[in-house]
Structure formats: C-alpha cells, structure tokens
Subunit: 378 residues, 3 copies
C-alpha cells in the first residue's frame, strides 16, 4: 500500500512541497525540536518590566526546562535553571513573586544570592571542602530587547544580533525601522493566552502567509484590503500593508485607534507590518500599538500562545477602552488557530504522509521548512 | 522468572491455546492491526440512507483515517480521505451535514466537486501548470450492501464478495439466506453507542462463543434455551437458535415482538442467527428485526461500538414502543462488554503472558486467531 | 551542549553523587523497577486482620499484577494472581468482599476453591483430559508478619528473613527490639491514602534523611528537637530520637498521647524510631502507636501511599479521639510529599541530568542507591 505523494512525485513550478506529515505528529521529532530548536535558540521568556524591583522573579518554561528570571540588587535581570544544586528540587514554585534577599530552596534551605551564588546551607560551615562557586544555580544566557527578556538555555547561544535582531532587520529592511515604535517603553494593555491543539510549525506557517486571509479573516481584510489578494505583508522586504481608505484605525470595526506612537514615521503611518522571529515570536506593528506573540510548544499537537497588546504608557494608564483595538487581532488569532487545528487533525493521514503543497504566494514558507530541517540536522 | 504457560506447554485435546496476552495490550501490535486490518479490509462506515440527497455528507473514522462520505448529483455515494490536498486541513469538520454544490476547505477555500475533483481555488487560474485532476480529494473504495456504505481505505481492497458477502454466506450456508430480511430497506429504530474499555479482539471472541451465556445472559438464555448449553449459534453452519416455546418474541420479557419482516421464510421463523464479518461487524437476525454492530477500535484497550436496531419502515414510523425489543440485546451488549473489560484488566498479567485456553465449544475462535495472525504477517 | 555534572566531575569528601535524573523519569527504567524490584521482592499487601473469616478476600496491586488474598476454611490466608486460567478474566472484581465457598469467575463460571484449585467449570466433566491441578489459580508466595500479609509474585522469592526481618533488625540492632510493640495485635485506628506526583525513590530518600526536617517539619522538630540538627534517626543503628522535655507525647501539639503499648521497654519510652524496608514499607515506632506506610508505584512520576496508624485494640474500640495523635505524622507526610513533588518537577532538567549531591548527614542514602542499581543489574 503506497501513500499518494503528489508533491514529491509531480511538482509543478507553481506548487512546491511542504514538510511531510510526521514532522507535525512524531513525538521523536518533537523531542528533537525541543532540544535543537527551543533549547538552543533565543527564546522570549518574559516582559522585563513585569519583573520590577530587587528580588522580583518570574518562572517560565523554555523547551523542557523551567527557568527563573530574577532582578538583582544591581537592578540587573538574571536567569537560572530553576533547580537546586543539592537534591534537585524546584527552587521557585510560584509563577511570579518577590523575595527579600535570596532564593531559598524549600526542601533543605540551600540558599542562593540573587546572582545565583550559593550563599548558605544548613551545616555548610562544617563542609569546608565544598566550593560554593561551583554549586551556584546554573546560569542561563539572557538578553533584553524590545522590552522582553530573551533567554537561551544552551551552553553556547547563537548570535543574538544575527538570529533575533537580524530577523527583524531582514524583514523590515533595517533594524532602525523598528526603533520608532520604542517597543521597550510601551506597556502591556492586554494579554490573552491561547491553548492551541496544533504543532508549533503550523502556527508559524499560518502566520507567514496570507493566502488564507480572504477565507477566514473578514475583519482583517476589511481593514487591510490587499490581504484579500493573498499576498502576506511578509512576502516583500520592508513592505507594510496599507489600511483601507475608509478605515480610521487598526480596530475591529475600522473605527479610530488609540494615540499613535510618536516615533512612528510618516512612511509607516496607516500601515501594518508583521515579523517572524524563529522559532517562537511574532511581532505586529501598527501606528498606535504593537502585538507581540510568544509560543510555548507543549506537545507535537499542542502549543500555548501568549499574546501581548502593547500601547503607550499614557494610553494604558488612562483607562481608555482598548476593546475594539484588541478585538481585531484577538479574532484573527482565534481564526488562525482554528485553521491550524484543522491541519493538525489531518497531519497523520496517509493523504498527507508526503506533505502538501505551497502555492506561489506561500513559497517563502519553504525557507522556514529549510531552516527547521537544518536545525535538526545540526 | 518464567511465566506459567500451560496452554503452550501442556495442551490437551479439549483445550487449545488463545493468542498471547501482549496481543491485547501492546501498542505496536495495535498499530499494526490498524494498518493491516482496519485500514486494509472493508469497513462498515455508515448507514447509506442517512446520507440522503445531493450534497449530504457524513464523516467517520476508519482505522486512523477520517473519511468523508458524500452523495453526488448523480445520487451516487462516494468516499474520500477528509484531507485537503493543498496544506492538509480537514475539509469537513462536522460529523454530518449538507453542502450545496461542493466541498470547500475552510482554510484557503480550495474547492472540490462532490465527485472529489478540484474545481476551484483562489488564484488557481494564475497557476496554469497545476493538473486539477491530480489534486482532487483522495478517493476511498466504497460498496453498498445491506443498506450500509462499506469503505476500504487501502489502495487495493480485498474482494468484497469474498470477505464480506462470503462471511455471511459461510455462516448462513448461502448468501440467499439473508435476502429475506431485506436489510437494505429496513430503518434504524434505535442506535446505541458503547465505550468499551477492552481490545476489539476480545469483543469478537466474546461474540463468537456462547460458553458464557449461562453465566452472564439470564434474559437471553430465557428466550434462547439452547444457549444455556454453551454452544453458540455460530458454531454450526446455517444453524439458528430456536426461541423458547413460552417466548412470544425476541424481547426482554419474552413478550411479542414487532411486525415480522415479510420475506423471512418459515424455516427462519422463531430463530436467532448471528454472523461475524471480520474485523468489525456483527449481524443478528430475528424474525422482526436485525441488530447490526459496528466496532471502532480506538486504542489497545479501548473500542467504541455502535449498535443499530433495524425494523420495517412502517414499524419505525408508526411510533410503536420498541423498548422491550431493544432492551434484550442492549442488556446482552452491556453484559458482554463488562466481561470483555474483565479480560482486558488481566491481559497484562504474567499469568496470561502465554494466553489462556479455549474449551471445545470455543474451538472455532481459533480460526479467528489464525485469521488475525495471518493479516499481521501479510 | 553538555550538561553540568558537578557531582561526577568535582566530588568533595563532603558531597557524594545521587542517582542521575533519568532514574526518576524514564518509563523504561520504571518498567524494569516494576519487574526486578516490586515484582521480585516481598511486598506488604494488606493488613491480615482485615481479611477476617473463611472466604473473606481482598485484591491489591503488586507491581503490575493484581493479587487476590483470600482466607481458607483452614483459616489460612493464601494469595493468587487474580486471573482466570480459562480466558484470562479478572476473577475478583471488588477490592474487598466475602465469598461462600469458592472464587468463581464471572465470565464463564470457572470455579476455584479457596485453596486455588479448579473445582468446577461448565461442561468440565465432558473434558476428562483436563488436569484440574494444572489449571488452578497461579499461587503467589505469602508470609504474615507484624500483622501484615506480605506477598511476592516472583516464582522464587528472596529470603523473607534476610530482606524483611533483616531490614528491621539491621536498623534497630536486633529483631527482638520490635517485639515489645506487638504490632501484630494492634488495630488500625486511622488509614489515610496519598496520591503523590513523585517517583517512589524520592519518597524513600526523603524518609531516610532528616536534613530537611528543620526546613519543612516545624511540628515534628518541636517534638523531636534533635531532628532540627539534620541527623535522621535512621543514621545510627539502634538510635531512637528523644522526645522534647516539654512534649508529653507524640502529638501535633506535644500534648499527651494515647495508652502506651505495655511491652515497650523503658529504654524505648519517649523515643521515636524509623525503619525502611525496601522497596515499599516504612515503620515508625513511638510508645503509644505505630505508623506503617506502604507505597504503590503507579508511574515514573506517580506513587500511591497508604498509611496506617496502629493503636492498642482497647484504644481504637474506646472511641477516644485520635486526631491530635494522627495529625502530627499526617502533616509530616504532606510536607514530605510536597518536597518530593518539587524534586520530581526538576528531575528532567539538564541541571539534574547527572544527579545532585548528598551532604554527610545524607550519605547513607548512597547505600539505597547502590541497592537499587544492584537490583536492576540482577
């Protein structure tokens, strides 16, 4: 019994193949992706401003690791594997909190400074041969950019400039292009979490193309008419999708948005930009806000997505109604994730064993597939 | 540590061995059964009359595939793998419904005729090199018999005449024997679904023998006294179990049944016939109705069973009370499935590692075991 | 990417390594532990007095087997694999009950005496070649001690004297030391079950050391002040931890306990003793009661613990309030199991891939690790 593999056997210049079906369902492949992608690349773990003040901490899953991010007395943010070096208990059990001076394991009271160093343990003074420096919390690489703390749990992280900043620059034409949004100083106006029953790659593929926009995004194509033609903003370097003439702002009903971010230049006004930072972040730019997605892969067929809507601080603090602004992309998210779940359902079919096909306006997804394949081979 | 294996080591002529325990618990064996049995044989997927009128469709799991059955403009029923040929989304998300003209994928609007052909897709006209015939829905073999749509998701199905019709003929002595029931034109009076925590083979083995009838089926042996002796109707070719003299019909209290089916000959009157069509169907014949079981294996230790009670159309439409008629075999089902679940619980024990034994009135189950073994070797 | 392995690479005399992380998470290792430890050693299955009278039975999981313990006409307790020798159904479905004369399988009525012998089956008389002795229930080794029925489902059990009695003697200095408690004739005053999301070995390790006592057991260290120093009672042969001067008894508030057990000698008065019987039992001795833990491993990260509080029969029957007495160790249990669950959460981290370290007051846990390793190699 042979599975039909049209993509592989009968390609045309219009259609190029996708990844094969098992790539989206095989637990062994997923485990390799956790190791070689999510635990090897930079991962946007938390909004820096939400870990505010000495001793403030936040714990977050990165691949299959749990990481604690904590702010030191020197106001610096640091990250550590959330594992006691003594008997391996999880040190910080809460998702967020504040400690006074130290991180103390709740099992045997081994105590670590906010810089991760082992500073005390019961009877430690009677063990003079113990090298306290060697038994500090295992440090995790951390960089802050766009107001987020990006971590890498690998021993040797790839270049942040190339893999994160470079992804933004490649998409927008230059890294300077994003500076006008001053993303670092915006504030979270709304955060919505989604539990998506689909492989993380389906979510990226979906975000990269707009061939589906006419079918599933009526509100979005109303505001961004060119999306109805199927060409995603991401298809052309530096290109932003223009708002419809009748749209006053990027809102669910085309009504006016919130206060525009002052630094956004005229050439970016009334435009929408979308950026993918592999493997886990989407950034959406419109004149008055930024939508920032982070993905947390949980299983071959399960991904948690956390989405932040970022506005000017004065907008958030004014208490102005954000509902129509948030609602537009919240609907887009729901529509997209529903579509991804439809694909997950069929990924195990023999009809998809050899994968599907990409039409011309989706061909750039092929580069993502190549990137995934290269990571797993590396 | 050696497991006791009496069946293998100390056979007697009265006792012959069953399949070994892992056959009922091993996920690898179950996966092979899905591929080489449920995805390779004819599978009763749906009652044809329930997919009524042009554009009516029904989706159903067959092994690990999801199949859509849809009625065309030519009134013919066709079946397809329910997977879009573009990016692999599930095309029909509902279990049942009606479309106007086409099956359209809800992701990118690729559109298929009711005959499965690709008829439209956004921008398809700008892709002249795409062979629309090559990108139709993947067809699934379909045959209609006894009022059911039987499908086979394999590329090359076995002979329907040999494996389905032949199973009925072999049991009844001839295929003509079932014609009197005119099963195709009966109507579903009741349908009950069961979620059984047992391997599908335990359910077949149970259905094939009546050595258990005296122990667990008080109502059934009241109506069919010979079952109390332990010999199943299936043991003898062409044999039907006679109703008790005091039983007016095949009902839970022995009261009168419904209107007899006109074509059932006198030689079949007041008799019960049982037929197994491997791997998934049981057919029970009594003068006034037919009970039709379909099994859907879900996991090594889990099987969904759907059971239809079929009566003359005028009986169903008259609104007559079917409760006492349905209740008899509904109780038999519950009693049987409870017994199968008891076996599943112990199948992983070292006491069953080498399997159990079949007594003489169960020896015909050995042929089923041989059949299963042959399918997996094939 | 290399995991940090300080224990292996930079040992000091104070710190010795634990088992590596996968030992607590790998399903293959857990399966080997079930076979080579729980299904090969003596396992405390039930309180003998709770299977009281001819025909009384109790079913219990031992490793991956289900065992039925039943009392015969000769008042002897026997144990069998709970699997019918015919088609493998579970014979006794209830957790506890009483049968009149026989154990009868509910599927085909194969019937076994209380001594396990096959005594009847439908049509058995027509199968004269069947050796009834060969088709009895599979017997399981059984010993009674301390009022518990200990079983071993292996064909050849290890020496009960060496592995069970010997463990108690090794800890207390002699087996005679426990006789004063007359554990066999105490009664269960309270039984509490715990569903712990941690590997069984974490629970044993936790029970063996008291380095954690000052951190998580405020009530216990109040009654047993020396525990605050981190040395477990189990660290020294024959040593019992002395009650605090201000503690009248082993209760949650230090108030008076119940009636002291008469045989407990003066040298054991106002002392607490703890014993581990690998792989599954903890025994705690105080002057007025005995706390007896049994563990049932369910999954690599899941263990059910059943804990009995045993008192003099007259105490249990008087209806005296046991709450303050039970509450002390119930809190200790909850505190301990919470700690074990913290360790389970981090056992899969690369920070624990090479394991953690044991401080000097935990070094005796190394012997347990050696024991586990030896069992799996055996």
């Amino acid at each position: 019994m042979s599975a039909p593999t049209p993509a592989a056997s009968a390609p045309s210049s219009s259609l190029i193949p996708t990844l094969p079906g098992p790539s989206y369902t095989d637990p062994v492949i997923f485990s390799e992706e956790q190791e070689k992608i999510f635990e090897s690349r930079w991962f946007a773990a938390a909004r820096s401003a939400e870990i505010d003040g000495t001793g403030a901490f936040r714990t977050v899953d990165v691949g299959r690791e749990n990481v604690v991010l904590v702010r030191g007395r020197d106001r610096r943010l640091r990250a550590f594997l959330n594992v006691c070096r003594h008997r391996g208990a999880r040190v910080c059990m809460q998702e967020t909190g504040v400690v006074k001076r130290n991180l103390q394991c709740g099992y045997h009271a081994w105590t670590y400074g906010l810089d991760g160093k082992l500073v005390a343990a019961p009877n430690l003074t009677s063990m003079p041969d113990v090298d306290r420096a060697a038994y500090g919390l295992v440090p995790v690489h951390l960089r802050e950019w766009l107001g987020y703390a990006w971590v890498c749990v690998a021993d040797e992280p790839p270049s942040f400039e190339e893999t994160v900043v470079g992804a933004v620059a490649e998409r927008l034409g230059s890294v300077e292009a994003i500076e006008g949004w001053d993303v670092e100083n915006l504030e979270v106006g709304r955060r919505i979490g989604y539990d998506v029953h689909a492989n993380w790659k389906l979510i990226i593929e979906n975000f990269m193309e707009c061939y589906h926009c006419a079918t599933i995004h009526p509100e979005l194509t109303e505001v961004l008419p060119e999306f109805a033609d199927g060409y995603a903003a991401q298809y052309f370097v530096g290109h932003g999708a223009a708002f419809a003439e009748e749209a006053a702002g990027f809102t669910v009903d085309g009504g006016a948005g919130l206060t525009a971010i002052p630094g956004v230049g005229e050439d970016h006004d009334r435009k929408y930009y979308a950026i993918t930072v592999n493997p886990q972040v989407f950034i959406n730019l419109v004149p008055d806000h930024v939508i920032f997605h982070r993905m947390y892969p949980v299983a071959p067929d399960r991904t948690r997505v956390e989405c932040d809507w970022l506005y000017l601080p004065e907008v958030v603090r004014s208490g102005r109604d954000l509902d129509r602004s948030v609602e537009l992309f919240h609907r887009v998210n729901q529509q997209d994730f529903d579509a991804c779940e439809r694909c997950q359902l069929a990924a195990s079919s023999r009809a998809y064993a050899g994968g599907g096909v990409l039409v011309p306006s989706e061909h750039h997804i092929g580069a993502f597939h190549t990137w995934v394949t290269e990571q797993l081979q590396g």
